[in-house]
């Protein structure tokens, strides 16, 4: 294995640093929209990061680590872009907002539970993000489009990873099937909220993607996987939602406190 055969490199790609450097200020509305997508990715990454060194097998530690890093990358890009509108930084937004100021979907803040619950959450969110980013690449806002263009490819892999695991857990052993059904049962109530339109999205026109427009494709694609896994689409309880307005489930506060504790203890510091 010589240096010639396996070269390593970072490769060219859009990064949070480049977005900050470009300094292209978004409108207030675009910034608020970017904040939503950034918060989704950030909170999900925060949850997934917990798994590193706890996964069912070492290979899966690496896989979940990659997914968490991708999500953190998307979060940093969206938040860095949003921050420009308010002369702030990504870290101001991540570490110095309080619970009601976060506008992520309630799904992503749900606790990891067991591996099946994490996979259920991942299955739902990555199919949602894929459908969203796939359309956002055509946004009239060039920066949003560019972030989506990078993110969509990565999320495509995430949904494949989750799909593989849904199949294996659902059709593996009796225990894994029971856990997979339970995991989907815990996460599915938060699906409805993902597809709700509101004034912000309406006001953005072709800069944003209407969540309601994603539902049909989401249902078709996830439905096909669930059918192959011999699972029913969970029915029944629908969570009230409200994450986009800063309403969160009770799991969110402690998670946020943990994430922000050090930064808040040293508000003047840089790291």
């Amino acid at each position: 294995m010589s240096d010639q055969t396996f070269r390593i490199s970072a490769g060219e790609a859009l990064t949070a640093e480049k977005i900050t450097e470009a300094g292209e200020k978004p409108t207030e509305a675009v910034a608020n929209y970017a904040l939503r997508l950034g918060d989704d990715a950030l909170i999900l990454a925060q949850r997934l990061g917990w798994w590193i060194a706890r996964a069912p097998e070492l290979e899966e530690d690496v896989a979940l680590g990659n997914i968490a890093l991708d999500q953190l990358g998307h979060a940093r890009s969206f938040l860095s872009y949003a921050a420009l509108a308010w002369d702030k930084t990504e870290d101001d937004l991540a570490y110095f907002r309080y619970e009601p100021e976060f506008v992520n979907l309630q799904l992503v803040e749900q606790p990891n539970g067991d591996f099946a619950a994490t996979i259920a959450r991942q299955f739902i969110i990555s199919h949602f993000q894929f459908e969203l980013y796939r359309r956002l690449v055509d946004s009239t806002d060039a920066t949003l489009a560019a972030i989506a263009a990078k993110a969509v490819k990565e999320v495509d892999y995430h949904r494949d990873h989750a799909t593989q695991w849904v199949l294996r857990l659902a059709l593996g052993t009796e225990e894994s099937r029971r856990r997979m059904i339970a995991g989907l049962g815990v996460m599915w109530p938060y699906v409805d909220e993902m597809f709700r339109d509101d004034d912000l999205v309406e006001s953005l026109g072709d800069a944003a993607v209407r969540p309601s427009s994603l539902r049909e494709d989401f249902d078709t694609v996830t439905g096909a996987v669930l059918a192959e896994a011999e699972l029913e689409v969970p029915e029944g309880f629908v969570a009230r939602g409200g994450g986009r307005e800063g309403i969160h489930t009770e799991f969110f506060g402690p998670m946020l406190a943990e994430m922000q504790v050090l930064a808040r203890a040293h508000p003047e510091a840089t790291w």
Binding site: L58, Y95, G172, E268, W271
Partner: protein, 331 residues
């Protein structure tokens, strides 16, 4: 620690002895060539390697925990990403090393079993806790720095799969020490509290990092054989000296003090002198009485046990698919 008599016995027990194989092995070692898995090798060489490579792998895996401890609390998103990538790399490095060890005939689940049952050793440095963020800096700068000193010569180790794994690991780890140095640099030049956090952490990690090179040469019974086999290239004390020579000027750049008043440039030797280390503490930690031994093993055991149903599910699914496809072919 094997006495000469014990070593002799294990040599006798070696079966089947293969004179041509041994001659070939000796030739390879004499010519500083690589030994590959299918070559005949002395039993003791194989055992030494399995022990060293699996211990190295275990160290990577257990080493994920003290840093993983800060992933959820990293104080900036950039630092969070770096830390996540680093801890994830360690999982990867553990895997590369388990693969190398497996070529010697020990399957990974056996090595995992030995680790979580407390039978196998790993680097005792990871049995120290990480109470502050500055520890992420100290681990990168001092612990990874010491590890790199140890590992670079291992890229030329005589056993091919081990050497190849180390080449990849060294390449990937090149950022690990630098990121730790940068964490400390930012802290040292930051607020008063940050600077104190950095100094306090370096005070705690300095001596344990120096002990990572192992006991003094005089007390290191296995070293000579490992050097004769070209597994180890430099003695413990040589590497330790090299490391001290490296970090003293680096500490100056950081604006931090190394907690050893005996550190002084020795013109005659062309090296820095440094003070005696407290080896009693080292042996305490080595024996499993370190501050975090039990926590580290318990965490690894829990992850492994709680993952069992997932591994079984995936294996059952694979079997189901195999049977289905056989049926389809038969039809």
């Amino acid at each position: 620690m094997a006495t000469a008599a014990q070593r002799k016995r294990s040599d006798d027990a070696e079966l089947p002895e293969d004179p041509a194989g041994r001659a070939h092995f000796d030739e390879l070692i004499a010519a500083d060539q690589r030994v590959e898995p299918t070559d005949w090798m002395p039993d003791a060489y194989r055992k030494t390697l399995v022990r060293q490579v699996s211990q190295h792998a275990h160290s990577e895996i257990i080493g994920m925990q003290p840093e993983g401890n800060w992933i959820t609390r990293a104080p900036s998103l950039k630092r969070k990403a770096i830390l996540m990538a680093k801890v994830q790399d360690e999982a990867g490095h553990g895997l590369y090393l388990y693969s190398a060890a497996q070529t010697l005939g020990t399957p990974r689940d056996k090595m995992t079993e030995d680790l979580i049952s407390g039978k196998a050793k790993y680097s005792s440095i990871f049995n120290y806790p990480t109470p502050t963020w500055a520890d992420m800096g100290s681990i990168g700068w001092l612990v990874d720095g010491a590890a790199i000193c140890n590992q670079v010569p291992l890229c030329r180790a005589s056993y091919g799969p081990y050497a190849r794994a180390m080449v990849r690991i060294c390449k990937e780890e090149s950022f690990h020490q630098r990121q730790g140095f940068e964490i400390l640099l930012h802290l040292s030049r930051g607020t008063k509290e940050q600077h104190e956090m950095a100094q306090e952490s370096v005070n705690r990690w300095y001596a344990p990092a120096l002990m990572m090179f192992g006991p003094p040469d005089a007390d290191s019974p296995n070293s000579a054989q490992s050097m004769a086999w070209n597994i180890k290239r430099f003695s413990n004390d040589e590497l330790r000296q090299r490391f001290v020579d490296m970090i003293v000027p680096q500490a100056e750049v950081l604006g931090l003090t190394l907690p050893d008043p005996a550190i002084k440039w020795n013109e005659e030797r062309g090296h820095y002198d440094f003070g005696e280390l407290d080896w009693d503490e080292f042996y305490e930690v080595l024996k499993g009485r370190g501050p975090a031994n039990a926590i580290r093993l318990e965490r690894r055991r829990t992850a492994h046990e709680e993952g069992a149903w997932v591994r079984e599910a995936a294996a059952a699914y694979a079997e189901r698919r195999r049977v289905e496809s056989e049926k389809a072919q038969a039809a």
